[in-house]
């Protein structure tokens, strides 16, 4: 266990020592991947209420659809896009031996991310208005 602990400490020091894009992308990928796994467990838990009854599904789904969760939803989609774009970057580097272009690919991913997020926020706008909830359904 001591060895594992010192390895973790070494990792923290490593972030400060390797101040380059590749290392930044590496840690963004790990942290976003961990966060998405936590979300996946929560998402499955909320939706699993469909197993007991449609009414309990509706009750729980009602709790997570409001302007507050619409903001969280943007963070979620940002996390998905970050992980997806960097994942595609890693796959291109690994499969096509493009490691020499890893920095250019990083900036390409940043540009794509920014463009996608503008669209995402635009599409989410109606969900920020509390008056838009409670109709239909």
């Amino acid at each position: 266990m001591m060895a594992e602990k010192s390895k973790l400490k070494g990792t923290v020091a490593d972030i400060g020592l390797n101040k380059n894009l590749g290392n930044l992308a590496f840690w963004i990928h790990r942290i976003s991947g961990f966060g998405l796994t936590v979300y996946l467990l929560m998402h499955t838990y909320v939706l699993s209420s469909a197993i007991s009854s449609p009414r309990s599904f509706d009750a729980r789904m009602g709790q997570v659809q409001n302007p507050f969760f619409a903001v969280l939803e943007i963070l979620l989609i940002a996390g998905v896009l970050v992980h997806m774009l960097n994942g595609l970057r890693i796959t291109l580097i690994d499969f096509f031996d493009w490691s020499r272009s890893h920095k250019a690919l990083f900036w390409a991913a940043v540009v794509l991310f920014a463009l996608m997020m503008i669209l995402v926020i635009y599409l989410q706008l109606p969900k920020f208005n509390p008056e838009n909830y409670g109709m239909g359904g």
């Binding site: 594992e4 996946l40 499955t44 939706l47 009854s53 509706d58 409670g134």
Partner: protein
């Protein structure tokens, strides 16, 4: 010398990339249909009936989600394992953690599949 479990295997590395490519497609579709292009002003909030109507619209949605659930469970658990493997855990903890990830992956897939069956079937 403590025996080390070693780093992530080549198969684990390869499957992470292949499942990731599929997930890129699955997630873009899923997020568009159920998150981004769900018009709150005309369709109202998402409930059991609307999800069921959406899923029943094509048999391909059933194929889609029954592939999506195990794929994402695998990618998540294999990803966590890849992170841990970098710290080269010793034999005992490595086996316990690997088993734990497999169990969580299977439970996630089973709960997801049961949820889908209820959403497709209309529940009780």
């Amino acid at each position: 010398m403590v025996e080390r479990a070693g780093n992530q295997s080549v198969l684990s590395w390869f499957l992470q990339r292949i499942s990731g490519l599929f997930l890129a497609f699955f997630l873009i579709t899923h997020l568009n249909v159920h998150h981004l292009f769900h018009d709150i002003t005309t369709e109202g909030i998402i409930d059991f009936a609307s999800v069921q109507a959406n899923l029943a619209s094509s048999v391909w949605w059933q194929v889609y989600y029954f592939l999506f659930v195990p794929l994402i469970a695998f990618h998540a658990m294999n990803g966590l394992w890849a992170i841990l493997a970098d710290y080269r855990p010793s034999g005992g903890p490595a086996i316990i953690l690997k088993t734990l990830f497999w169990v969580v992956g299977f439970v996630l897939t089973a709960v997801g599949a049961l949820t889908l069956i209820n959403l497709f079937g209309g529940g009780q």
